[in-house]
Amino acid sequence: MTTRQQILYLWLAEGDLATAVVGWAFHDGAAGRGPALPDGEPPYATGTAALEAGWFLLQSPPPVAVQRGREYETGHLTNEFVFERRVDCGA
């Protein structure tokens, strides 16, 4: 059996998985042989909705200590969650 990984990045509004998706990226190691993302923008309303659809959480963002003097800097989207789904691609 050949297994391939699908990876889903979700950027959420806050650090809680139940908050709204504001950005996403899908990388399909199964090259279309597995399930696709549902239609819609975003494909899941929240991180929790992705769990309910069968995605497994690989990584959640740790709280980051604020550096003195950089308290109000803004940069990357803050709350990056990474999910995977394994697809059986046959022999």
């Binding site: 990045y9 950027w11 509004a13 806050e14 908050t19 709204a20 998706v21 504001v22 950005g23 996403w24 990226a25 899908f26 923008e41 975003p42 109000y72 800097e73 803004t74 940069g75 990357h76 989207l77 803050t78």
Partner: protein
Amino acid sequence: MPAADHRLTTLEVARFVVDGYLRFDALVPDALNRRVLPELAQLATTKLPQAIGLPPSEDAVARPPSLTPLSQCYPAPSALGEVLRLPAVRGIIESLVGADPLFDHDFVHMLPPRMPHWQHLHVDAILDTPDPTFDIQLFYFPDAVGAGEGGTRFVPGTHLRRVRAEDVSRYRHVLGDERFVGPAGTILIFHHGMWHAGEANPSDKTRWMYKIRLNPRVPQVRLWNTDDFTAHHNDAADHRFATMRFDSVAQVLRKEQKWQLGHEVRYDLVQRVRLWRYLSGDDRFDADYYLTRLEQRATLAESSTPRAQS
């Protein structure tokens, strides 16, 4: 912008601070757009090889070097120069980077029909210093761009986020991102920090876009038409959780982009306030009191510093 004065208004500049761009549909007359297109095609034959390290050919088009004042770029006869010297275009430029900024560089972004290549989201140049000064980039579309015809993708409100140029490539989809669609002669004015990307062009039509980056050489303080400045520029007490105005610059700056949900927008609001302080010359300006309360407390810390013992 007012009809007789082509500079931007205070509220237009405030919108630029919030969104990182302004859009002017069909600003360039179509007869001029038609004359620009062959010039862009000729310019592209020079710029494209140079960008990949090839020396220019003997018949290369004359083009300005970096650090040239804009007024000396593309002298007559030049349709492209006519565009850059249109009163409406000059008024926008003057409002943001002064009347005669420096030419940084330009480029012709021509997407041939059925071109599958697309760019990752990125910021032009490299990571910025934290000072509030900024360049502008004019994105000029001399031909109409329809849906699915390679219109530039961009994410409004990202321009004040400090990131390395290519690190934002991971964001394949962001709520509220836009893909340009519009009539011929449209100009988008971007803050240089805007996250953006070139799109594929699956259509049967060539997509043309001319981009020019301009550097200020005067402080960017109240360069626009300030007739409405006093009416809209608020004091530091304009505070959503105390008393607030609905006609003020602060109210414009409070806008929540679609990707700024929850408390995230508050951090972006602080960045907008810092930029407006620079643009307005008022270092006490605030919106929703985030900086003022900190500055008030800082004065207490300073006054309580123990005196040196005698």
